[in-house]
């Protein structure tokens, strides 16, 4: 649905050139929710602004629904933009217009009749839960309500694609989850492809199908969200995963850890449970079968997409042989990483 090919964007200024995007290629399949995550300054905003050409890439191609946007005339590009909705971190609502008129704006741009506008806007007010706010002005609304108006407005032109530029970053956690639930609902009901950029791993975890990490203008890693959580390939990906699972960084316990086992030391391991294994009593089974004990250091169970993922950091207590057997027992059934050894 959205395809970016070798996209590069360099900002030229007197103070020197800044490459915000460096040869980024990605593909967003139709009907999916695709998240791009990265820290501040990674080039995320530039990336999403390139998709509807609010920012013109220095080189590369932007293909949306089979159309190469960079080849279009100004007029044809405006036409193409009618099929793409966009929402922003700071909502960007018109303060002089009511909720209804804000949502109607894209329709007024295409000169639609009053009847047609009413017929489109009314169901959107229902979809976004804003029926009673119809004649309110944006200043009378909360942040979450404003973003709902912005979402309704983005949907008014019946777009195929919705671009979300840090759509939940200005909202509190509770409002964030309600907005995310709304986006997921829209994705399912209206079959809209969503490309979202965010710096919050929780956003990716709760609604995305696929995820890519952007770092210093480069696409570092791309995967389905489940795979991304279970098998993060790069150090940066691991960092993001740990931020979402609320694990303390390993560095905090690292100074107690030794790389090699010495006599009498106990291994510290990180165990990942995926899907059904989160329901199995594997830890107690291991304890009984191998005659070892576990000290739980950290533990968390998360829902990622439709799957449940568990993370457990434990210290294994037992004699040398039993510990070894226990590790093998676990490794045969789960993903196990030995982080180090403590005495």
């Amino acid at each position: 649905m959205i395809e970016l090919k070798q996209l590069t964007k360099t900002f030229v200024s007197d103070g020197g050139n800044v490459t915000a995007l460096n040869n980024v290629s990605l593909y967003v399949p139709r009907g999916k929710i695709y998240g791009v995550i990265g820290s501040s300054g990674a080039g995320k905003s530039t990336l999403i602004r390139c998709v509807n050409l609010l920012e013109t890439p220095s080189s590369g191609a932007v293909i949306v629904d089979g159309q190469d946007l960079m080849q279009l005339s100004k007029k044809a590009l405006r036409q193409a933009r009618h099929t793409m909705g966009m929402i922003f971190q700071h909502f960007n609502l018109l303060s002089s217009r009511t909720v209804f008129d804000n949502i109607a704006l894209p329709l007024k741009l295409t000169e639609q009749s009053k009847v047609a506008i009413e017929a489109t806007v009314a169901p959107l007010l229902t979809l976004t839960g804003l029926e009673d706010k119809r004649n309110h002005y944006p200043t009378q609304l909360s942040g979450g309500q404003k973003q709902r108006v912005a979402i309704a407005r983005a949907l008014a032109s019946k777009p195929q694609v919705l671009l979300c530029d840090e759509a939940t970053s200005a909202l509190d956690p509770q409002t964030t989850s309600s907005i995310l639930a709304l986006l997921k609902d829209i994705n399912r009901k209206l079959k809209i492809t969503i490309l979202m950029i965010t710096h919050e791993m929780d956003v990716v975890k709760s609604i995305c199908d696929q995820v890519a990490i952007l770092s210093q203008g480069k696409l570092v890693e791309e995967n389905t969200v489940e795979e991304f959580f279970v098998n993060p390939k790069t150090a940066l990906a691991r960092k993001f995963v740990r931020s979402a699972t609320h694990e303390k960084p390993v560095s905090e316990i690292e100074h107690h850890l030794k790389q090699k086992p010495i006599s009498g030391s106990r291994p510290v391991v990180r165990i990942t449970f995926v899907g059904d294994t989160t329901n199995d009593p594997l830890i107690t089974q291991t304890a009984r079968a191998c005659n070892v004990d576990f000290v739980v250091l950290q533990a968390d169970i998360e829902s990622v997409g439709n799957k449940r993922l568990g993370f457990l950091m434990v210290e294994i207590l037992g004699d040398e042989q039993a510990t070894k057997t226990a590790l093998e027992y676990l490794k045969a059934r789960l993903k196990v990483e030995v982080l180090g050894y403590v005495c």
Binding site: H82, H90, L94, S96, L105, L109, T110, Y137
Partner: protein
Amino acid sequence: MSANAWALLLQALWETLYMVAASGSLSFLLGIPLGILLYITRPGRISENHLANTCLASIVNAGRSIPFIILMVAIIPLTRLLTGTSIGTTAAIVPLTIAAIPFVARIAEGALNEVPLGLVEAAQSMGASPFQIVVRVLLPEARPGLINGMTIISVTLVSYSAMAGAIGGGGLGDLGIRYGYQRFDGAIMLATVIVLIALVQLIQAAGDRMQRFYDKNQ
């Protein structure tokens, strides 16, 4: 004050209102589009055009740098061309309008600058053309600021119109100079000043009211 003096005062008030209303409307009509052009041609804006922007900005700045009393005399040929005469109340409208246009343009540009750029971007992302962005987004969003600016211009025009006496334009300022100052008629001077104060208060109050009505941010 004699009946004659009252008649003079009324006549002068009418002349001032006429000059301010006519030059005000004309300068808004011509100055606001100029302000829009200044805004949209700036670097990074929707119709970025460096050359046009530089030219417009220099003309506007030149217009603002000429003292009104000199402008009034300097453009007499133009005034004669447009109104058929170089003296009188109608003739005074030409220099008043010409003097106000650059101010209106700069104030309009300033009001447009206050509109968050995010709104322009949102409109662009919806496929709005530059014309639609101006008409549907920028002007409605800048309306409270524009009204505020136009109130300031109207008040300024009241005081400029006092100088119109120099070309026989009449008005309250002229009355004050001729009767109050030159003939030492303190009563007329005082009456003129009171009417001017009342007029300015009225314009400001009307402007404030209108601005509050359109400003949905409060």
